[in-house]
């Protein structure tokens, strides 16, 4: 089980989402993908997509206007 950090600071929506979608395909079940974002729009569509896809998702605000979306690949 590994933990992968995807640095998407400074990238506007939908780039973080597309990167996360591509990255999660490379991961194995049980791996954790941490998407770091600072675009408020991505804060909505990244978790939405991941939940819709059936993964476990958590969002954490690590600083003012900076978030980590923690996605556990479950399928």
């Amino acid at each position: 089980m590994k933990e992968v950090i995807l640095d998407c600071f400074g990238e506007a929506c939908p780039i973080p989402l597309v990167k996360a979608q591509n990255k999660i395909k490379e991961l194995e079940i049980g791996d954790i993908l941490i998407v770091q974002i600072d675009h408020s729009c991505a804060m909505k569509n990244v978790p939405d997509w991941a939940r819709e896809d059936g993964h476990n998702v958590e969002v954490e605000e690590i600083d003012d206007g900076e978030w980590e979306v923690i996605i556990e690949k479950v399928k």
Partner: protein, 230 residues
């Protein structure tokens, strides 16, 4: 403070992120100063031009709601394709339905009192220019990461890349305004302008428009169902 602890104990694995978390200073003083400044500005503007205060207030309320709700017109058109989610699309459709009723009520109010109907200059001809413009705008807003309101809102939020979008948004708008006469004369005025109440009556126009929005809403819901089962 309490929040930080809770998150750590609940998730366990988030400790790495939380340890980097800086202690948060209260932003309340900034908020109070900002509100005071905005208040002073609106008072000053209102002295010169009556009604500016309400325009500013409406603008601020709109921006606040846009930011807090993460409402995004770009996402409403892009996410169905990208993620299969139409939640934002449906939110926009609901907003359209509400504004349909609101705007019609305002216009009808002027109409029955025999006053000139406000906002009629926005009833512009439709033609292939509309479609071409819509496609260009669509491509542009996805690349720029926001439409007009979205760009302004995220610039206010402090997202630096959007600052660049804003500069080119202004340049583009000025350029567009500069050449608009030519486009209007050669392309736009060739179309036919349609004001629905002229064709279907006031009630008919509202019902028709709401019905179309309702159909789009159903279509959006079905789309998401199909996409998520895929």
């Amino acid at each position: 403070m309490g929040d930080t602890e809770k998150i750590e104990t609940v998730t366990g694995r988030s400790a790495r992120g939380s340890s980097r978390r800086k202690p948060k200073n209260s932003q309340l003083p900034y908020a109070i100063v900002l509100i005071a400044l905005v208040g002073a500005l609106s008072w000053f503007l209102d002295q010169r031009d009556n009604g500016t205060f309400w325009l500013l207030l409406t603008g601020l309320a709109f921006g606040y709601i846009l930011q807090r709700s993460r409402f995004c017109f770009t996402a409403s058109m892009r996410d169905p394709y990208l993620t299969g989610s139409t939640t934002v699309t449906r939110a926009v459709l609901v907003a359209f339905a509400i504004t349909t009723i609101g705007f019609t009520a305002i216009k009808y109010g002027y109409f029955i009192n025999g006053l000139p109907i406000p906002g009629m200059s926005y009833v512009v001809p439709i033609s292939f220019a509309t479609i071409a413009g819509a496609i260009l705008f669509g491509i542009g807003m996805v690349i720029a990461g926001g439409c007009a309101s979205g760009t302004l809102m995220r610039f206010g939020e402090g997202f630096q890349m959007q600052f660049l979008s804003l500069i080119f948004f202004i340049i583009g708008s000025l350029w567009g305004a500069h050449d608009f006469g030519w486009w209007k004369y050669h392309f736009i005025s060739k179309g036919k302008s349609i004001f629905l109440p002229d064709y279907f009556g006031w009630l008919g126009a509202v019902v028709l428009q709401l019905f179309i929005i309702f159909l789009l809403y159903i279509a959006a819901e079905k789309y998401q169902e199909v996409k998520s089962n895929h």
